[in-house]
């Protein structure tokens, strides 16, 4: 069984590609969603976050997302230290999860910041879902009902797409011109063949 990472900028269409892969029988681990779960349920991670950001980081039994957002917004050092706490926990969780899917030919970890977090170093390969910036902005504006400026602000924290293209093993173009399904099927078959 091999482990693959799937990434792409905001609005690139990662979720849609994951939907297709799941339909093809590929187990998909959603890193961002699982990270949010771990921050609430992993006691060790919880203590480390409280040690670093204080008791206000949690309210009741849940993470105080609003408080944490104000702590890391515009503060590179705080953001880095939060990531350094969360990413190892996610990595371990993914590894445990992957073990439960040993029968699958390969599993996929979907992560928006796969390269930025260094998670790709622990995987067998990476897939990038690529879409032009303007198209991604339009999609996010429509999807999240937000203005262009706030989309661009969110994009600022992500690695340049061209750099991601250099680092990825496979690139899926979701630019509205090329069909997605044939590209996904081609990569899916290549990974299956490379596993044999």
């Amino acid at each position: 069984m091999s482990r693959w990472g799937l990434t792409g900028g905001i609005g690139s269409g990662k979720s849609l590609v994951c939907q297709i892969l799941e339909k093809l029988g590929v187990p998909v681990y959603y890193a961002d969603k699982e990270a949010r779960r771990l921050m609430n349920t992993d006691e060790e991670l919880r203590h480390r976050i409280i040690d670093r950001f204080g008791r206000e980081a949690y309210e009741g039994n849940g993470l105080n997302r609003e408080f944490l957002a104000t702590q890391v917004f515009g503060d590179e050092e705080s953001l880095t230290s939060l990531n350094e706490l969360v990413h190892p926990a996610v990595r371990k969780d993914f590894s445990d999860w992957a073990e439960t899917h040993r029968e699958a030919p390969y599993v996929v970890e979907e992560a928006a910041i796969l390269f930025e977090s260094g998670a790709d170093r622990f995987l067998d390969g990476s897939i990038l879902v690529y879409a032009p910036e303007e198209l991604r902005i339009q999609r996010v504006m429509l999807r999240d009902d937000v203005d262009e400026e706030s989309v661009r602000r969110r994009m600022m924290h992500q690695m340049d797409e061209e750099e991601k293209k250099q680092r990825a093993d496979h690139v899926i173009y979701n630019d509205g011109k090329e069909l997605l399904l044939p590209q996904v099927l081609t990569i899916h078959n290549r990974i299956l063949n490379s596993n044999r």
Partner: protein
């Protein structure tokens, strides 16, 4: 030419003219004393229509009478006579009804010859009346309540929409007229009224558009419309597959479409996205088909406009 010869020539011309005139006069007397056939127009008025019926259509306003008379009588008639219209009492005649149709009747004008002859000078002999037949189309007079539709021209300021449509009070009118017209009349319209660019509620009295042969119980109605602001709502609608055989599974990508629409604030709480359907049709799939068109159905009437994305989806087909 010498002066004597000129005088002689003028005398001859004068003599010739006098005899020419006498000849023409004698010829005219002779010609006018002879009998001729001619056609004269005779005005006609229709009276005394049946009380329980409404007459429809057009009837000729004059009859063409073919007459035989001495030339002078014809000349005198055409030059000086201002004929008194023939009064035609419609109900006094026994109608011929084609195929027992009580709404239609015809009269052969040859039966009018006696009546018309009495109104003509005695030296005019009436030979024939044209047209030879008068056709009458009648209808029963009925009364019915008919819905009124507004015919307003307007523009509405951005961010506003009409709250509950254009309201007419009353919304219907009692209409009386021939059953032939009323049976096919679905609506009565208001007179087209341009009320310009609206940024506030509108209320006024508007006239009803008249239809020939119909009478309304009122000529005006109150017309009003209330404006309200609208807002945007979004739904994520699952894509359904129509006409899918039992043995086939089909998954679309994406599996949902995003629908964005505008709705008036008063209807905002009423918006129910689950009624709206996004469908693709399995029967559209051919060998080369890679994309299916998404069709949006069951859009509630109070949604003002909508946009959805994507308009096409890819799909995976497999046997169950």
């Amino acid at each position: 030419m010498p002066e004597g010869q000129k005088l002689q020539f003028r005398k001859r011309i004068l003599m010739f003219s006098v005899f020419l005139l006498i000849s023409v006069f004698i010829w005219l007397l002779n010609a006018l004393s002879k009998n001729y056939n001619s056609v004269i127009e005779y005005p006609l008025v229709y009276t005394d229509f049946p009380e329980d019926r409404v007459f429809m259509g057009d009837l000729p306003e004059h009859l063409n009478l073919r007459i035989n008379a001495p030339g002078y009588a014809i000349l005198r008639y055409k030059t000086f006579r201002k004929p008194v219209p023939i009064s035609f009492k419609v109900s006094a005649f026994t109608f011929n009804r084609p195929g027992q149709d009580s709404t239609r009747a015809y009269i052969l004008t040859r039966y009018l010859i006696d009546q018309v002859s009495r109104q003509l000078p005695t030296d005019l002999q009436l030979l024939e009346i044209k047209p030879d037949t008068l056709h009458f189309q009648f209808a029963r007079q009925i009364t019915r309540q008919v819905m009124i539709l507004p015919d307003l021209q307007y523009e509405i300021d951005k961010q506003f929409t009409i709250k509950d449509g254009i309201i007419l009070d009353p919304d219907s009118v009692e209409v009386t007229g021939p059953d032939l017209i009323l049976d096919t009349l679905k609506h009565v319209y208001t007179v087209r009224t341009d009320i310009g660019n609206l940024s506030r509620d509108f209320s006024d009295r508007v006239r009803l558009k008249q239809v020939q042969d119909l009478e309304y119980s009122r000529s005006r109605v109150n017309c009003s419309l209330e404006l309200e602001r609208f807002t945007e709502v979004q739904f994520s609608i699952p894509v359904e597959v129509l006409n899918l055989p039992d043995t086939i599974a089909l998954q679309t990508f994406p599996s949902r479409v995003r629908l964005t629409c505008n709705v008036g604030l008063s209807k905002y709480d009423r918006v129910e996205g689950s009624l709206i359907r996004a469908v693709v049709d399995y029967s559209d799939i051919e060998e080369e088909t890679r994309l299916l068109d998404v069709d949006i159905q069951n859009i509630p009437v109070y949604l003002l406009s909508y946009e959805y994305s994507p308009k096409t989806v890819e799909f995976l087909k497999s046997r169950k």
